[in-house]
């Protein structure tokens, strides 16, 4: 006992001394199929650098040569995710969920600091419909399709039914093409895990055959510091039967799967996932991955495959070996919140791959994310470095916007929801797009 205590004291002094040295974070992070992770490096105090919100004024996000960006809707109420309906109308989910009570003294301080980097507008708890009837690029009609929802996030249309993932349940509206307002209150299809709701967003997309909904349910903590009992149905993707509302666990160990998309052609489910905090500026990466049925992706016991995270106790050694390494690193703390597959309508350079919306970091001295990137695919797999597609959200310490959901409009445009400036951006090709057949659309 005496010896053990002495050993503890020595190792503790050493680690505190190390912690005081701090960390040198830079802007360049490993992306793609990273083989080796840098060592964790947290420091005594975690680095925090939250966005300093500033109005856009005459500024605009930057887009590549040959594209134009337009604000098609402003003064929204925390727009998050969107879908493009078959007639070209855009539905935008607006809301702000969560609100878990402070568990420790730290939570009071951290939540105050983080709130400085977000919009002060109240979440709308609604769906807004945007319509460009004459196709001139101006969305002249705007209506509230449905109100009184509960922090809606994931959206999916299957035939004539519109599914909305509130923070506590999947609800269903009947939908007829051309509708601008829902015909009535929604029906409840299935409850979703909502106790505490530390990560409240419920990402959702429909399977290619329209039989299932996939729902991303984030963890209830960073790495299990609320105990593991409350993580029972968290950090996983559910597969929900559209007919009955019954669910099964499709894949687990995904800390916060914030956006889901089905790959056109293959029907494969893909996700972007936000990884854990407080391991330093470059560990572990947020990622893009194909989601294997029955797969376990590590949380909370391991990250990036089989790197153990021994902050979690009681620790389960056998879970580390089971952990699947994700396909593609997007960089640590970029906070990927949107993903959608591109189509040929986006032009030759962007025809095959995914767009990823990055909300931007708070847990890092040098900010990263705050942009939309394009991850090129070849033969159905990610191939090559991510390419900046929409930038200019964070310039010289000022933050003008924070991208969330991204949706590819089959007409040849990218819809980007920005929950800081409460704007919906639309990025279009300047040349008239080819009339390519549109791939299956997803939320």
């Amino acid at each position: 006992m005496k010896l053990a205590m002495k050993r503890i004291v020595l190792s503790s002094i050493a680690s505190l001394a190390l912690a005081a040295c701090g960390s040198g974070a830079d802007e360049v992070q490993q992306t793609g199929a990273v083989a080796e992770m840098p060592d964790p490096d947290r420091g005594l105090l975690p680095s925090m650098n939250v966005a300093d919100p500033t109005g856009w004024g005459d500024r605009r996000p930057r887009v590549p040569e040959g594209f134009t960006v337009t604000a098609i809707a402003t003064d929204m109420a925390i727009p998050r995710q969107s879908i493009v309906l078959p007639n070209g109308d855009i539905l935008v989910a607006e809301g702000m969920g969560g609100g878990a009570p402070a568990l420790r003294p730290k939570d009071i301080i951290a939540s105050y600091i983080k709130s400085q980097g977000t919009s002060s507008v109240e979440g709308g708890d609604r769906l807004t419909l945007l319509r460009d009837a004459d196709g001139d690029g101006t969305y002249e009609t705007r209506s509230i399709f449905a109100a009184d929802l509960n922090a809606p996030y994931g959206l999916a249309l299957i035939d004539d039914r519109l599914f909305v993932a509130n923070q506590d349940a999947i609800v269903v509206f009947d939908y007829q093409p051309g509708q601008t307002v829902a015909s009535g209150p929604p029906r409840r299809l299935a409850p979703l895990p909502s106790e505490v709701n530390h990560h409240w967003t419920k990402a959702m997309t429909a399977s290619a055959d329209g039989q299932y909904l996939y729902v991303g349910i984030g963890s209830n903590s960073n790495i299990g510091e609320r105990g593991m009992a409350i993580e029972e149905e968290r950090a996983m993707v559910w597969q929900v039967d559209v007919a009955t509302g019954a669910h099964r666990r499709y894949a687990t160990g995904l800390r916060n799967p914030t956006a889901l998309a089905i790959q056109p052609g293959t029907g494969q489910l893909w996700a972007v996932v936000n990884e854990r905090d407080e391991m330093g500026p470059d560990v572990p990466p947020d990622y893009l991955t194909s989601v294997r049925a029955g797969g376990f992706y590590g949380w909370p016991y391991a990250y990036w495959g089989t790197y153990p995270d021994r902050r979690v106790r009681p620790f389960k050694e056998d879970m580390v070996a089971r952990s699947i390494r994700p396909d593609y690193s997007l960089g640590a703390h970029v906070a990927a919140l949107g993903v959608d597959f591109s189509s040929t309508a986006m032009g030759a350079g962007y025809a095959e791959g995914v767009f990823v919306g990055m909300h931007g970091s708070w847990n890092r001295k040098v900010p990263v994310g705050y942009k939309v990137v394009f991850v090129p695919f070849r033969n159905g797999r990610p191939a090559g470095d991510p390419v900046d597609f929409v930038t200019g959200f964070h310039v010289d310490g000022e933050t003008y916007g924070r991208p969330v959901g991204v949706t590819v409009d089959p007409a040849g445009a990218l819809i980007v929801a920005d929950d800081l400036s409460n704007t919906v951006w639309r990025i279009t090709r300047n040349a008239p797009p080819n009339l390519a057949p549109s791939p299956a659309e997803m939320g």
């Binding site: 503890i8 004291v9 190792s11 503790s12 002094i13 680690s15 505190l16 947290r42 005594l44 105090l45 975690p46 568990l103 420790r104 003294p105 730290k106 903590s221 960073n222 790495i223 299990g224 510091e225 609320r226 105990g227 407080e278 021994r310 902050r311 979690v312 106790r313 009681p314």
Partner: protein, 165 residues
């Protein structure tokens, strides 16, 4: 520590003004200065209990890995820090304004300040998630407790008898 029973046990304390039969003055003095002393004594005694609780909670977490213990430890440490901050302020005031300078006050101030610094480190370490708090949190709790005991000892064994009015 029987100073208030009328019969003063002679001049064992140099801060006692008189031993020539002027016991009334001594008997009166605690009433006049007790408010000031209490402003140091109450937080000083209280922080000891809270730091002790924090240490025991840390120890329980280290042994059991049951997450709720580390939440207790973090809050107990936070509560202790509130009292330590108050004790630091009031003991500095006491050291500066005590009528006859008793250099022992500055020892109290130094020990309370050391408690504060260690407790602050402890708060930072307890802000880590789950077992990332260990073993640093446990070690810091123990060190903080030790220094808090020393601060109490320095104050209660001498200062509160004394010469502050």
């Amino acid at each position: 520590m029987g100073a208030s029973h009328g019969r003063v046990p002679a001049a064992r304390h140099r801060d006692r003004l008189s031993y020539r039969g002027k016991t009334l003055a001594i008997a009166n003095r605690p009433a006049r200065r007790s408010g000031h002393l209490a402003s140091v004594a109450i937080p000083l005694a209280g922080l000891l209990a809270l730091f002790l609780g924090a240490f025991l909670s840390d120890w329980a977490y280290y042994r059991t890995e049951h997450i709720q213990w580390i939440n207790f430890a973090a809050w107990l440490n936070a509560g202790a820090m509130v009292l330590t901050g108050i004790a630091l302020a009031t003991s500095i005031i006491a050291a500066v304004f005590s009528r006859r300078s008793w250099r022992g006050w500055w020892l109290v101030v130094a020990l309370v300040a050391a408690t504060f610094v260690l407790g602050l480190f402890g708060a930072f370490v307890h802000a880590r998630d789950a077992f990332a708090t260990m073993p640093d949190g446990l070690v810091l709790s123990l060190l903080t407790l030790a220094v808090a005991i020393a601060a109490n000892w320095a104050a209660f064994s001498r200062g509160f008898r004394g010469d502050w009015r």
